[in-house]
Structures are given as C-alpha cells and as structure tokens.
C-alpha cells in the first residue's frame, strides 16, 4: 500500500499536471464514447427505418424474376422457352366480362389474378431452400396482381375483336384503377391491386409482420377469409377494420391495417396463402421465399448458395434493402463509420502522446527525487512501477472523466433532438416485369414505397462501451507510465543526485 499512498500523494502534489494529463486522456476517451454512442444511434435509426423492410427475422428474399435482356426482341426477349411457357400460362387471356350473358344494367364483379413481375414456382422449393447450409428458417408467399372489374352491364351492346368481351391490362398499384364511364352513364370499374398470400403460421418471416399492424390485429385461425390491407389502399378505398373487401368473388373481412414501410414493396392486401392459391388457381405455387440465415455473417454465403442451387433465382438481402435508403441518415452513418473511426484513432493517439510527454516532463522534474529513491535502494523495477502506477491512476481518472464526458456528449445529442432524413427514391425494385406500365397493371413492376421519413437520432451508451473506454484510458496511462518509467529507470543515481531542482 506504500506505493499507492506515494502515488496518490504525488498526484495530489502535481495536481495541475495530473488534471491536464487526465483531461487529455479524458477527451480522447470522451470522443470514443460519444462517437460510438452516435454511431450506435445512427445504426438504431437505420434499423428503425429498415425494420419494416426486413421483417423481424428475414435476412433475404428469394424470387424468380422474369428477365429481359437488352438485346432481346419484344416482351419475351431473353426468356428461355420454359420461362415463356410459364409466363404465357400465368398471363393467360386477361380478365374478361362476357356482356352477351348480361342484361343491360346487370351487376358484375370479376377478378383475374396474375403473377406479373415474377415467375411462380412450386411451394416445395421452400423445403429445399430450408435445407441449404446456413438457413435456419424459410417461408413462402404468393404475390399476384388482381385485376378487379366490376359495375353494371352497359345498355349499349358492345362489339369487340373478341366478341362480347372486354379486356384490359395494367394500372397503377393501389390507386384504385381506371374508371370506365359511358355507355349510358353506368360506370364499369377497373381496379388493379396486388394481393399477397402469406404463410400465417410463420408471421416473423411473412411479407407483413404483426409489428406492421397499425390498426386491428394479425391473422387468426378462426376464419379463412381474413384480409389485412395496406394503409394506403385502405385509405384510398375508404376501408377500415371490420369492412368487407371482395377477392375472387369472396368477401374478406378486414382484420387489420398495416403500415407501408418506406422502401418496401408492399401489397395492397394480404390474405392467407392457401386461400389465395385456391382462389387464384395457383395451387401449390408461390412467388417468394423469405429466408432467415443462421447469422448475419452467413447471409452472403447463403445467398450465393441459393442463387447457385435455385436456377434463375434472385436473392434480395437486407443489405440490398438498406442500400435503397439514402438521405442525410445514410450520409451521417457513412460519415460516422469512416470519419468517426479515424477521429477516434487520432483522438486517442493524441491523448496518449500528450500523456507520454507530460509523464516525461514529470520525470524530468523529479530527477533528484528518483535519484534519492535509488540511493535508498529502490530497484529499477520499483521506480518503473511507481511511475507507471501514478500514470495508471491518471489514466483511470481520465477514463472516468472521459466516460462522463462521453455520456454527457451522447445525452447532449439526445437533448438536441437531432433528426435525419431517410430517403428512398421512387424507382422500381430490381425485379421489373416485361409489361410494366400498362393501364391495368399487367406486368406491373414491384414498386417500392418512395418518399422520406425523419428519424430522430437517439444515442445509447452501454456498460461495455464505458468499460472499454475506461480500459483504453488505463492502457494509455500505462503506455505513458512505461515510457516515463523507463526514462526514470535509466537515470544514473549519482548524476540524478547532482541535479539541482
């Protein structure tokens, strides 16, 4: 304990130098804590934006997009024969209303479901993908474009190339479709909407998760005909929880409203997978497999394996989704990860350098004292231990002050209420279909929800970060002590005693 008493007494005597050294280290440590807390806050903000995109536990989505090459000719250019056959089967003749069978003024309501941007594939692929190394869970979903035509038969008999029928294609997602008026003033309504059938037994891997429900509830096992609507679709069509919405001639009860995540590819409606497969006549077919990897580090490898093992597939990872998010949030995070790390290194290096120089200066001022200690029999090791011990205590003090500075800095960021903008440009997702842009949505691309959202940055400091920061300061103190101690140990006692102070 003598050494500790001596060290504490010395630090008290050289209070100014002690505070200066500790403050130097504290600023370095405070910088590390603040930058790390800020970086964590930016990560959390980005995760907050991405959470609805990635789902609770989905690491990647597997689809089989229809690929069109630049040198292809026509809508089917670049497709293999089997892909063309599948596509023809999926597209079919389009929705049709045979007015010959309707009396003028008679109501009609028909749906036509098509997988437009992606080829459907057997649901058995879910099991196969689940068997890949590094995959812990997988669930399938089916996303279709539903062309909904309803209204009353016109009083004027129509003549078309395909006698007695009326067809169309394309439309804007979720915008309520085109309204066909004329023919005696009775409207015929066309509505294009996307519907996704999800495996409700795996809500954490589903295209819509319980966390996205803003009103109402998630699916239950009580009824087959339950629907969850996107908030934008519900708003446009003035639907709410408890309303009824028709799909394939069946009335579905709206049980919940889900938020449309920024940057996501939301559907207008979500129903149970088996129900949609039956109504749309896509039995045993799906268009997407949501996959969870064993670890974040395994995502890249698993994605490559799936691409190799599942021909013509496209794997979209959470990182791909993250890359869609831009704006000041993204800029700040990039800045934090690059400049922040450099700032931490430079700050700490400067702090340790200052501590070393001040310790050396302190040793220079204590030459005769060190000579006296050597004269009374102190070994070099004892001298080094004493100087290092004092420096370590300074480091500890600097670490504690630095942690306080860091926590205060992080709290200041929170108090300022810094908000950053996360932006997703209004472009289609990579899986663009060959027929995008048609009036009724046939071949409609998977549209991402574009726009901006403000995210408040909330920094957080945890105990591990603080302990690590204090540890860094102590380490810095030890380095300074080792430098100063070795200088003191090299002093020749006879020369040291001759020094005039």
């Amino acid at each position: 304990m003598f050494f500790l008493s001596y060290a504490l007494a010395e630090l008290r005597r050289r209070r100014g130098r002690t505070i200066l050294t500790a403050l130097g280290l504290a600023i370095g440590v405070g910088l590390v804590v603040t930058v790390n807390a800020l970086s964590t806050g930016l990560d959390h903000a980005q995760q907050k934006v991405l959470a609805p995109l990635t789902g609770v536990g989905t690491d990647m989505s597997v689809t089989r997009p229809i690929r069109v090459t630049n040198n292809g000719s026509g809508a089917f250019g670049g497709l293999s024969q089997s892909q063309r056959n599948r596509l023809r089967g999926q597209l079919g003749p389009g929705p049709a209303v045979n007015f010959r069978n309707l009396k003028p003024g008679q109501k009609f309501d028909t749906d036509s479901f098509r997988a437009t941007s992606q080829l459907s594939f057997p649901a058995s692929e879910v099991k196969r993908i689940e068997g890949f190394a590094g995959v812990t869970a997988a669930a399938g979903s089916l996303t279709l474009t539903d062309t909904h035509v309803y209204g009353k038969a016109p009083k004027v008999r129509l003549q078309f190339g395909n006698p007695g029928s009326f067809g169309g294609s394309g439309g804007q997602n979720g915008q309520g479709g085109a309204r066909f008026q004329g023919f005696g003033g009775k409207g015929i309504h066309f509505q294009s909407r996307t519907v996704t059938g999800i495996d409700q037994s795996r809500p954490d891997l589903a295209a819509v998760t319980p966390g996205q429900i803003t009103k109402g509830r998630y699916f239950t096992s009580s009824s087959a005909y339950q629907a969850i609507l996107s908030s934008s679709y519900a708003s446009t069509n003035k639907l709410s929880v408890g309303s009824s919405v028709s799909f394939g001639g069946h009335a579905f009860r709206v049980v919940g409203i889900a938020s449309s995540p920024l940057g996501g590819t939301p559907s207008d409606a979500y129903v149970k997978l088996a129900v949609l497969q039956r109504l749309a006549k896509y039995r045993g077919q799906i268009t997407t497999v949501q996959v969870r990897a064993a670890s974040t580090g395994a995502v890249g490898r698993v994605a490559r394996e799936i691409k190799t093992g599942f021909s013509a597939s496209q794997v979209t990872t959470a990182q791909d989704l993250a890359n869609r998010v831009g704006g000041s949030l993204s800029d700040a995070r990039n800045l934090s990860s690059k400049l922040g790390t450099a700032l931490e290194i430079v700050g700490l290096a400067a702090a340790v350098l200052i501590a070393c120089l001040l310790t050396l200066a302190s040793v220079a001022k204590r030459v005769r004292e060190i000579g006296t200690l050597k004269a009374v029999g102190w070994s070099q090791w004892q001298v080094v231990r004493q100087i290092s011990g004092e420096s370590l205590l300074q480091g500890l003090l600097g670490g504690v002050i630095g942690a306080a500075i860091g926590i205060a800095g992080a709290a200041a960021v929170n108090a300022v209420g810094w908000t950053l903008k996360a932006t997703v440009p209004g472009s289609a997702a990579p899986a663009r279909g060959p027929f995008g842009g048609g009036p009724f949505g046939f071949g409609q691309a998977a549209q991402v929800t574009s726009g901006s959202t403000l995210v408040k940055i909330t920094t957080s400091t945890d105990l591990r970060l603080i302990l690590a920061a204090v540890g860094l300061a102590v380490l810095g103190g030890l380095v300074a002590g080792a430098v100063g101690g070795s200088r003191a140990a090299r002093l020749r006692p006879a020369a040291a005693l001759r020094t005039v102070e």
């Binding site: 003598f2 001596y6 004292e369 006296t372 200690l373 004269a375 009374v376 029999g377 070994s379 005693l497």
Partner: protein, 248 residues
C-alpha cells in the same frame, strides 16, 4: 598518521572491514578533456568507525562518497564492502547492496516532499510488510526524537527535524555503513551540533559505522578519524585524540 590512536578507536581490527579500497580512481570523460576526480585511493574503514572525509570543494570527497555508497563505480581499482567487490556489481546488485547495507544522509535532506515523516522513513524499507515497516519507522523516529512529528510533511518541519527524519530513513535498513554528505551544511550552528552529536552517538552507543563528508574543518575535528583529500588524492588519514576522548 597516528596509527596507534586510530587503532585505539577501531573496535575490531580483525573483523571484516566495512570498506576496503585499493588503488581506486574515478575519471570522467576520456582523452585530453577528461577529469580525474579520484586517483589511487587506498582506504580501510572498519566496523564502528566514525570517519570524516574532509577537503576543499572539488577535492573528490563527494565522488568518494558516491563510490562508497555504490551509486557509482570506479574506473580503476577495487572497492570491497563487507568483503564483497562492488566494483564489478551490476545495477541490480548495487541496488540490493544500497537497500541492505548502506544508509544515506544528504546535505539538502532529500526527503520526498509529498510524504509524511514516517512515510519518508518507510520509503527505504518499502518492500517490507506494512505492519513491520510502520513499526520500524515509528521506532526510528522516536530514536531521533521526532515521535510527535511522524505525520508531518517535510514542509512543516525545521531543517534540523528534516535531517533527523533523513537520519531515521538512513537507519531504516539497519545499514552496515551510514554515509553522510555535508549533513550540517544546510543547518544553523546549534542544530548542526545536535545532528553531529546524534551521529556520534550512533557510532559510540550503537557501533554504527559512519562516514561523514565535510568541507568544514570544525566538523571534521569532531570525528575520531579524518581522511583529507586534495585533488582527488588522500593527503592525510589522521586520528583526532580530542574526539576520541570526548565522543559526545
């Protein structure tokens, strides 16, 4: 040299000498610019002796004291301390020798200003266990008459008291030799006399070997034996009959 007088003062001529110097020299620097601080010094100091090393400034007395104190090594000759050749010892062995065998007293006291009187004494025996260290330091401070000042910082003590603390510190490791470099140089006359009396008492009452360096002839005369240096050489080694007959 009054050999018969020195022998009378020497308690045990057949005992191993505390110091035995043969042809010791110390030169600083090399070539034409070099300085010879000590040259060809032969000296024997026996246990219990009180020896004053006297000489003018620059005569080499402090250099001699540093060699005796194992703070420096000679450039020629040999120095044996209690039978061990310290001229060939490494830094670690020299540290151990200083810790176990030698006690230093400095002209400017050289107390650690941040430590109390008792902590300054403990500094010399810092590797000992806490209780033993504390008791030893306390006893020594009592012996030099500073029981009431144990927790005082040097800055709160007079020069005489500080030198007493330094003496207690020098005695902490029960040294074979007590080396004092101008111990009264920074003290007033009366306090200087008290310190000299204390050192003499240690020699006469406790058989402590004391080597005292001084430029003051009056101080040197208080020692039973005086070795005079001039230009780094021993010019006389005499016994002081008055000091022998009146040790106090």
């Amino acid at each position: 040299m009054h050999t018969e007088e020195r022998l009378a003062q020497t308690p045990a001529t057949d005992a191993v000498p505390v110091y035995e110097l043969a042809g010791v020299g110390r030169a600083y620097g090399g070539g034409n610019g070099g300085v010879t601080a000590l040259a060809d010094v032969d000296l024997v100091i026996r246990p219990g002796e009180f020896v004053a090393v006297a000489g003018a400034s620059g005569s080499g007395k402090t250099t001699l004291l540093q060699l005796l104190g194992a703070l420096d090594r000679p450039t020629s000759g040999t120095i044996h301390c209690l039978g061990r050749d310290i001229s060939r010892m490494g830094p670690g062995e020299l540290s151990r020798l200083r810790r176990e065998t030698i006690g230093f007293i400095f002209q400017q006291f050289n107390l650690i200003p941040t430590l109390t009187a008792i902590q300054n004494v403990e500094a010399a025996i810092a590797t000992r266990r806490s209780g033993e260290r504390h008791r030893r330091a306390h006893d020594l401070l009592a012996m030099v008459g500073l029981s009431h000042r144990v927790d005082h910082l040097p800055s709160r003590m007079s020069g005489g008291e500080q030198q007493r603390v330094a003496i207690a510190r020098a005695l902490a490791n029960d040294p074979g030799a007590l080396l004092a470099d101008e111990p009264t140089g920074n003290l007033d006359s009366q306090t200087g006399q008290e310190i000299l009396a204390l050192l003499r008492g240690l020699s006469t009452e406790h058989g402590q070997t004391v080597v005292l360096v001084t430029h003051d002839t009056h101080v040197a005369e208080t020692a039973p034996r005086t070795v005079r240096l001039s230009d780094g050489r021993v010019v006389s080694d005499t016994a002081n009959a008055a000091a022998i007959s009146d040790p106090a």
